[in-house]
């Protein structure tokens, strides 16, 4: 039974003892309480207590000399601590005596309840456990569909803070964890949890304990975490069971929320799809109004791309929050592997305003990269409903370029560069150059300067005569080189796509 004995400090932080106060000098961790013995009056003569708590039900005067005598007797009988009815302060003598005999003296307005609670956690841990689980089940039945309500209900049943944490320890709902608790939790949890795995227990240096149960369901894994400030063994044994009961309910609420998110996302994406295909119909306009989109006015398109596997529907709130935080009212729509957004102004913005707005969007981007590996392109200001499509297309192009341009912070604004320059600039990018060189590699070190021949050939609109003239070679030589190039590269130079690719590739710096 001794391994079920909680320390006094743990009991003082436990829910059943919330109204128990320490009347003697403060205790650090205090003795371990092996049980609880009740006695009616202060004049009782307790026998061997062996670390148990002695609870006195009638103690109306805490300054009475009999309290001193009782402290002395309880200490001699080996009591772990003494609990008196009432919370009035002790007399000075009793305080000094308790300190001298190292016997903590507690007070409580309902000593019988405190006695009963200690007795249960030390002698009947199964009862504590089943009662908590039953209470959790009953309370969950009454909880609403809201996730926070489920967490609050659980927290109320356990009378402990309960958190829903992501795999990085970040708080998804409930009371946030401290930074060091977060680190300890993440260190202890597996990356990929198994649904049937036993709950995890994380002992923190502060003496607190985190109990974590995986919530496996739709979407990424998260953890239901309860924080117990100190170890009461019976409670530490009971909480995992309670959390295991609650976890499916949390999973269900998460799935419902996810469903809602996806539904909204699909609605927005399809509406945007319609907007991108020409002048919107009456019905489209109405739906846009329903969603709060302003179709008229001057729009600035923003394309936010995300690298890697990103939950686009789930993380949309992050994007909206980033815009809100910078004071920009933007419409954000999930699209492909990122988000399309636009900002609408009633009248045409001036050049300065455009610059200012671009600066704000840059700040939004900086916010976003803290959580998402994002690259951003911004289009030019375009008027009217069809302008949305135009500016978003420009933004999309710019974003595609921004992706490979680490030197601009993976952010590009079309207005600043002009589209043609952008494309040209793109051929100098870190992503394109290796690709171009790889493309041209087969003809690079061949006799007859095939790279220059190809460049000139494409520049002269595929004219062999012009090529021969520019290079000062015979026409047949030029024809032979071109066929050799086609052979080596394995391409058909009459195919416009391949021709364009090679043309761009030949524009990379010839010194490379």
């Amino acid at each position: 039974m001794r391994d079920l004995a909680p320390s006094l400090a743990a009991m003082l932080s436990s829910p059943g003892w919330s109204d128990v106060v320490v009347l003697s000098a403060a205790v650090d961790d205090g003795p371990r309480l092996t049980g609880s013995r009740v006695s009616l009056e202060v004049s009782s003569h307790p026998e061997s207590l062996d670390g148990q708590l002695l609870v006195v039900l009638l103690a109306d005067d805490h300054t009475d000399w009999r309290i001193d005598a009782l402290i002395s007797r309880a200490s001699a009988a080996g009591a772990g601590a003494l609990l008196l009815a009432g919370v009035e302060p002790l007399g000075r003598g009793a305080q000094l005596l308790a300190e001298r005999l190292q016997l903590p003296v507690l007070g409580c307005s309902d000593p019988l309840a405190a006695h009963e609670y200690l007795r249960r956690v030390t002698a009947e841990p199964e009862v504590v456990r089943s009662e908590l689980v039953l209470r959790a089940v009953a309370a969950l039945r009454r909880a609403s569909d809201d996730l926070t309500s489920v967490l609050r209900t659980t927290s109320d049943v356990l009378e402990r803070p309960v958190t829903l944490a992501g795999t990085d320890g970040g708080t998804l709902a409930g009371e946030p964890l401290e930074a060091d608790e977060r680190t300890a939790l993440v260190g202890a949890l597996p990356r990929v949890p198994v649904a049937w795995a036993a709950p995890y227990r994380v002992d923190l240096p502060s003496g607190a304990v985190l109990i974590a149960v995986a919530v496996v369901g739709v979407g990424p894994v998260c953890w239901l975490v309860a924080r117990l400030p100190r170890v009461v063994p019976a409670e530490v044994a009971a909480v995992p069971d309670v959390l295991s009961v609650v976890a499916p309910a949390v999973g269900e609420r998460l799935a419902l929320r996810r469903l809602e998110l996806e539904r909204d996302a699909r609605q927005r994406t399809s509406l945007l799809g319609e907007l991108l295909h020409g002048e919107p119909s009456e019905a489209t306009r109405r739906r846009a109004v329903d969603l709060g989109w302003q179709l008229d006015g001057w729009h600035t398109g923003i394309r936010i791309g995300a690298e890697g596997q990103v939950d686009v529907a789930g993380r949309r709130t992050d994007v909206v929050e980033a815009f809100d935080a910078e004071g920009l009212r933007a419409v954000v729509v999930e699209q492909g592997d990122g988000w399309s957004a636009w900002v609408t102004a009633v009248r045409e913005p001036t050049a300065t305003e455009v610059q200012q707005q671009a600066a704000v969007i840059r700040r939004v981007h900086r916010r976003l990269v803290q959580t998402v590996d994002a690259y951003v392109g911004v289009g030019r200001v375009q008027p009217g409903p069809s302008g949305i499509a135009t500016t978003l297309a420009e933004a999309g192009d710019a974003a595609g370029l921004a992706r490979g341009r680490a030197e601009t912070g993976r952010f590009l604004h079309v207005d600043r560069l002009g589209l043609a320059q952008l494309l040209l600039a793109w051929t100098r990018t870190d992503t394109f150059q290796p690709a171009a060189q790889a493309l041209l590699a087969p003809i690079k070190d061949q006799p007859g300067d095939l790279v220059t021949t190809l460049a000139v050939y494409l520049d002269t609109e595929s004219s062999l005569a012009e090529t021969a003239a520019v290079l000062g070679i015979h026409r047949n030589t030029a024809a032979a080189r071109i066929s050799k190039i086609q052979h080596l590269l394995g391409v058909d130079l009459t195919n416009p796509d391949e021709r364009l690719a090679l043309h761009l590739a030949s524009r990379t710096s010839p010194t490379e």
Partner: protein
């Protein structure tokens, strides 16, 4: 042959009766000075009961709020008035005096009265130490009636009370002093000395004088253990008063200030707690009762070794706590219930020193 008291003995006698007061008994200052003036260069003999056969003695003393004596001074005629009233009512001449309680100021009052009235004083009293209630007179405990008796107060008012038990007399006395000067002289009925002394504590004043002399003989700076040994008692502790808590409790008609004194022993760091009413009643060391009434609990100033009364002790005082043996008369099982801790509402068995 009795004990002779001269002027040079008065200092020791005053300290002795104060020690018998166990922290109570009232301030001896006013009556000490009166006695010194009355005695002058003369002498006073404390007689054994056996030496004054045939005398009718009246136990006499001051009752009421003895602290009022500081403001409401004696007029000088109170003893005479009380003695004459009780003689007249009983028809028996008072030919000798004894003390109601041979401690504190009432250890001195019969001596003053004896000098004033020219009567012999018998060294016997009804308490042998300080006790707060009239039903704790040895006569009452032994079944002897306390009435008839007479009370006189400083303005001259005299009443005679008869046909009432100890509790009734207590009520009568309290209401009388409450509505007059706050204190009065009480003289009980003249009684043949043989009977009077049989139900009384013998030799208390002689003991007080011996205690006082032992006290006076202490070297300045004597260690606490030596002080206890020389006074014939046991040392309970030496240290600083941490707290003095006082509160009134209602106890039927009589309300006494209940209080407690908490001391931490300088050597062992043991926590000493003394429960008080008008006297020091119960001492606990580390929560264990070690000394109780009817033994004497005495608190002395550590530096001057002067006794400190219950109403004078303060936080921060450096004190010695001693237990001295109480009067042997009270040690019998049928008597101790009247003066042991239970008689004061303290649920504790009497803890007495080994009889010496």
């Amino acid at each position: 042959m009795g004990t002779v008291i001269r002027e040079q003995d008065l200092g020791a006698l005053v300290v002795g009766v104060t020690l018998l007061g166990s922290g109570g008994g009232g301030d001896t200052g006013a009556f000490g000075r009166m006695l010194r003036r009355r005695l002058g260069a003369g002498e006073l003999v404390l007689r054994d009961a056996a030496d004054v056969a045939g005398v009718s003695v009246s136990p006499i003393g001051v009752v009421g709020a003895t602290s009022v004596l500081m403001e409401k001074l004696p007029g000088g005629g109170e003893f005479d008035a009380a003695v004459r009233a009780v003689s007249r009512w009983t028809g028996t001449e008072v030919t000798g005096l004894m003390s109601l309680e041979a401690d504190g100021l009432n250890g001195l009052t019969p001596l003053i009265a004896a000098l004033d009235l020219g009567l012999p004083v018998v060294d016997a009293d009804l308490m042998g130490r300080a006790l707060p209630r009239l039903d704790q007179f040895s006569w009452a405990v032994a079944g002897r009636s306390l009435t008839p008796c007479a009370l006189s107060e400083p303005s001259g008012q005299v009443i005679v009370v008869d046909n009432v038990d100890a509790a009734g007399l207590e009520r009568a006395v309290r209401s009388f002093v409450a509505h007059t000067g706050g204190w009065a002289v009480l003289a009980l009925a003249p009684t043949p000395v043989e009977a009077a002394a049989a139900d009384a504590v013998q030799g208390s004043l002689t003991r007080a004088l011996a205690l006082g002399r032992a006290h006076a003989a202490l070297e300045p700076g004597a260690t606490p253990a030596v002080v206890a040994e020389d006074l014939g008692g046991r040392l309970l502790g030496t240290g600083r008063v941490e707290e003095v808590a006082r509160h009134l409790i209602g106890d039927g008609g009589a309300a006494f200030g209940r209080g407690s004194v908490c001391v931490v022993d300088a050597g062992s760091r043991a926590v000493i707690r003394i429960e008080t009413e008008n006297e020091y009643l119960l001492a606990l060391v580390d929560g264990t009762p070690v000394a109780t009434t009817p033994d004497l609990l005495c608190v002395l100033d550590r530096r001057t070794l002067q006794p400190i009364a219950v109403d004078a002790i303060r936080s921060g005082d450096e004190i010695l706590v001693l237990a001295l043996p109480g009067p042997a008369w009270w040690r019998r099982a049928d008597r101790i219930t009247h003066v042991g801790p239970q008689a004061f509402g303290l649920a504790c068995a009497p803890q007495l020193l080994e009889a010496s």
